[in-house]
Structures are given as C-alpha cells and as structure tokens.
Symmetry: C2
Subunit: 336 residues, 2 copies
C-alpha cells in the first residue's frame, strides 16, 4: 500500500516535534491557526516493538494531546487510564517495565494490525488521528524504519531500553539514528518545504538530541532546512535556567556539550534563523545573537492552554517578522 | 527451546478435553484425584492469531476453569472481566468480533511473547498454569501447528472465523485438521498411554467433531487409543434429549450424521470401551451396547461443583470397573 498523499496547499507552518514539550506547543498552535495551515512532523526514532506491538510514543503523545486525552500529570499516556492488562501480564511474570495502559494499548493493537495489513505508518497515523477527532496532520518524518540507538558504556541499547528500562543510567558515548540516511522523507513534507507560501518551519521545545535530531537526520532534512526559503525558528526546550538538569543534562555532558540553553543555540546555529528563549533568560540574548540568529524572549512555560496559545502566537509573530525582513532584504538585493 | 519433559510416572488418567463442557469434567476430576494422577490433553485446533496474538481458546478455558477464574455465564473468558482494550480498538474501527477481555488479553500477550522467544506451546502453557496456581498438567496435544479448517459452501474458513465471526452460518461440507498428521504428539502423552499403571483414558463431554477430533487426528492418536491397554471411556456431550440443538446439530446434519447421542456413540464405537450417558437417556443404553460398548448412566449435568465431582467419580469408578473386568478376562485367557 502506498502512503496517502496529503493536500499541503494550505500549509503555512511545518512543525517538527518530539513528545511532551513539543506537543504542548503544537496544541498552542492548533489554537492560533486552522488545521490546514499546520503540518506536524513527528519523531519515530523512539518507536519500538513491545509485547509484539508497534509503539510510536512521540506520535501518540501528539495525537493524545491534540485529541485532549493526554495525561498531563505523567507526560505520557492517556487520562482516566486503567491498567488491567499490565497488571495481568505482570502477574504472569511478563515484562511490565514499559507502562502500557489499557486505552493506550488499544491504539498499539490497532496500529500494529493496520501496519501488518500493509498500510504505511503515515496512513495508519492519519487514520488513528481521524478516529480520535484530530484534524491537524501528524506525519511520521518517514514511513521507513528509523531507530534511535544509544551507544553506551554497556554497549548499544535501543532507545526505550536505555530511557525507560535502564532509566538513562548507562553512560552515553553516542547516538545513532539507524535507517535515517537511507529513509525517504514523507513526500508531503518535501512539498510543503518547497512551497513559496510557507511561513516558517518551527522546531518545538523538544529534546534536541533525542527528539529533534532523529527527525533532522532523516534524509538529510537538516541540510534541506538550511536551504529552506522560509525562516526556521526554534523554541528553547529550557526555561529560566542556565543549566539543564536530569537526564538531558547528563546526556549532553556525556556527549561533550555544556548542558545549557546557550549550548543548544550553538548546536542549532547553522540551521536556525530565529530562536525563542524564555524571558528569564533574556541576559543571554546577545550571546545567542552572536551565532547569527535573531532572538525573541517570550514566556515559554506551557502549563495552561492560555500559556501554550500565547507562546504559539509569539512564535508565529516572530517567524512572520523574520520572513518579512527577509523579503524586504531580498527586495533590497533586487533593487541594488 | 525444547519442550519441558513432564514426570508422568504417577499419571493414572489421560483426559482429552475441548473447552467448556470438557473443562467442567476436568474440574470434577480435580476434586476426586490428586493433580499428579491427571494429565489433561487439550485441543489446539481452535488456536488462532488475532490482534497479532496467539490465542488458545480451549487451553485457556481449561486453565481458567481450574484456576477458578472462568466466567460461568459466558462459558468463555474470565470472571470480573473488563473490556477497556476492546472498547478502545472498537472505537478506532478495529476488529472487535472476537471478544477479548482485558485480563484474558494479558494471557495472550504473555503467551505470544514467550512463543516468540522460542518456547514451545507446552512449556508456555505449563508456565502460565503455574503462574495462575493450576497444578494439574494441561498439555496441548502437540507443540506443532494444528488448525481446524472448516470447509463450507463459502469456501474454507478457519475455525474462529466460522464459529465466532460467521456464527456457524455457512453450510459445512467438511472439517480438516491442518498439520495433524505431520504433528508430533507431545511426548509425555505417549509415555502416559504406554504406562501399564494407566487406569483410563477419558474423553470429556466436548464436541466430538470440533473439539475431540482435532486431538484424535493428531499423529494418529485415535489409532493409538484403539491399541491402548487401559480402557477408553467417553462421557456423552448431550443430556436428556434424543437430538442435539443449535450449531452442533446443524454441523452434524451437514456432515451426514443424525444429530443424536446414539449417533455420537456410533461415531466413537471403534475407539471406546465405555460410554457414560445421562440417566434421562437410559432408554438408548441397549442400542449403544450393541456397538460393543459398556454403558453407564449417570447425572451428566454439571452446573454445580458437586455435580461435576459426582460425575467425575462415576466416570472414574466406571473405568476402574471396566479395567478390572478386562484384567480378569485377560487372567482368564491366560488360564485357558
């Protein structure tokens, strides 16, 4: 079965997103813009097989968030979830380290059945989204197999084994995105990126190394974005602090990056036109601008729907401003 | 992985069983005899793959019944069951014709995971039984793939599609047990059948054509039973009526058998030494004895635990009587 083509003619924003943090901004954007103006490109490097099922954690977090059924307390899974199957499997001595709720499991069962019948992941995701009332297109960056492999001092681990089963404890020596270079970018993404009417590409506040890099590694998307006519704008995944904490900080340090917002800005510098940081981080604006980026400060906390919507509106306005300036400068070039 | 060998040295009764009706008698036997004296041989012709999982309906009904968690109202599935996953799959437009409850699903998930890791079905079944506190060995008749195919006027259908999805509506033109002749009988069954201390082989009151025939077709078990030293005794699956009703009657008629208890006795005549019929059917005892079988009338209704236990005790006593008579007659032969 071939992937279902998507009508991208009205698309104005291509939004790259991982799971939780990214989904919050996507939800904010959904409150500012009509569904046809948005195209969400999701990470599939975290996808894995468990209990014989194909699980797409980041696509699901996006879908659940937009469907209004995401569990805001855990950051994964669904509201009002029950755990009957997991309890049953656990009682039988089965694998219970990956916490699959009953409603969540239904999605994995249905996804797996459709994939087995030959439908590509993009079509399956689209069908599941429609069944859940989500009208914004959520696209896996590719229909091909892509897996984030975490190279550690204990040897290579697949992402979920490292992240969930081993609680990020092994020392990371590298990250690989298996299948990324050979993967075909989902065609509608290429079409949207080439559209002269595209307003912006937005990188959500997701983990740069674990969530956005697998997307950017797919079929050289990172290079394509460098050549993109529309401005590329990212939102800092960090708020009000100079150094990351927890597993992100640990991973960054193990990979040789200082665990700071500035460090992330530097990592993306060749790719971005603009960077949105939290108002609390205003003091590092100048340093980031030295990388050749426009910087905007905004409230990047997204605990409430209102905060999500406001940040989304700020990001949209910021990218429109960069776009207008760029047009003006190109007009200027023409006038010379 | 090889199948786990079973210590059959104490086995006195090899009990062939399908699902519901058979499980009731097995439960009765479990109340009369110690677990080590019983070996339950289950039908796997009904096994199938659904939602990507390996489902063994008859083995599960036996396991749930002996674990005391079978749902007595439906005749399948578990007590206190919930349907969260099924509701979820159904809401997504997925297949919901086979009603898998959440606790039931946990068993299928765990079975499938263990099978995928290379364990044979016998070992997996044994492990699941132990986890559920069932100490009576339940053995799939074979670890090899065996599938009941229902040939119908609409073409061949796998058993569950015919039985559950199509509600036995297509006209049956034949039954085939795919893989049966090439399948290897689970070795402990052969060992138990060859044991001179075996008291009896008991055929439970299961559907002869759909539940017992796939067992008997496996590696020519039917022929082996004809040669078995211990008496072979069956319990009529029918109570207090001359003609079957419902799908069993329909199938029997379509296969050219009169849908009566007498007809089943005739079908098994070359295999059995004794046949237990309900007291209400006493009037056909003579006719059955004309097939060369010993007949015992008993209360074959098994609604209560007491009824199950009483019938089991009757069956045991009946087979012991036949065994003693046979010994005496053999002693007589020697004396001649």
């Amino acid at each position: 079965m071939n992937a279902t083509a998507l009508d991208t003619s009205g698309c104005r924003f291509v939004v790259l997103s991982g799971g939780v943090g990214g989904a919050k901004l996507v939800q904010g954007l959904s409150l500012c813009r009509s569904p046809g103006e948005l195209m969400v490109v999701g990470n599939v490097g975290d996808d894995f097989e468990h209990w014989g099922m194909h699980i797409s954690p980041d696509l699901d977090t996006l879908m659940y968030t937009l469907a209004g059924v995401a569990n805001p307390e855990t950051g994964w899974g669904r509201t009002g979830e029950t755990w009957r199957v997991l309890e049953g499997v656990s009682a039988l001595g089965g694998e219970s380290w990956f916490r699959l709720g009953d409603q969540d499991l239904a999605v994995h069962i249905e996804r797996t059945a459709r994939l087995k019948s030959g439908a590509p992941l993009s079509t399956v995701t689209n069908d599941l989204c429609r069944a859940m009332g989500v009208s914004i297109p959520i696209l896996p960056v590719t229909d091909d197999r892509l897996r984030t492999i975490v190279d550690t001092s204990d040897g290579p681990l697949d992402f979920q084994t490292y992240f969930v089963h081993q609680h990020c404890e092994p020392v990371v020596t590298g990250l690989r995105f298996e299948g990324a270079s050979a993967a075909v970018l989902f065609p509608s993404i290429s079409t949207a990126l080439a559209d002269p009417d595209l307003t912006a590409v937005i990188l959500c506040p997701s983990n740069p190394f674990l969530s956005l890099d697998p997307i950017l590694a797919t079929a050289d998307l990172r290079c394509r974005l460098q050549d993109c006519v529309a401005p590329v704008v990212a939102v800092s995944p960090m708020v009000g602090s100079k150094a990351f904490k927890g597993p992100t900080a640990k991973i960054m340090q193990e990979l040789g990056h200082a665990p700071t917002t500035l460090s992330v800005a530097r990592y993306y510098a060749d790719l971005l036109d603009g960077y949105v940081i939290d108002t609390a981080d205003a003091e590092i604006s100048d340093e980031i601008e030295e990388f050749g980026l426009r910087v905007k400060t905004a409230g990047t906390l997204m605990d409430s729907l209102e905060q999500k919507q406001r940040l989304a509106a700020d990001v949209v306005a910021f990218s429109e401003t960069i776009g207008r300036e760029r047009s003006r400068s190109q007009m200027g070039d023409l006038n010379v």
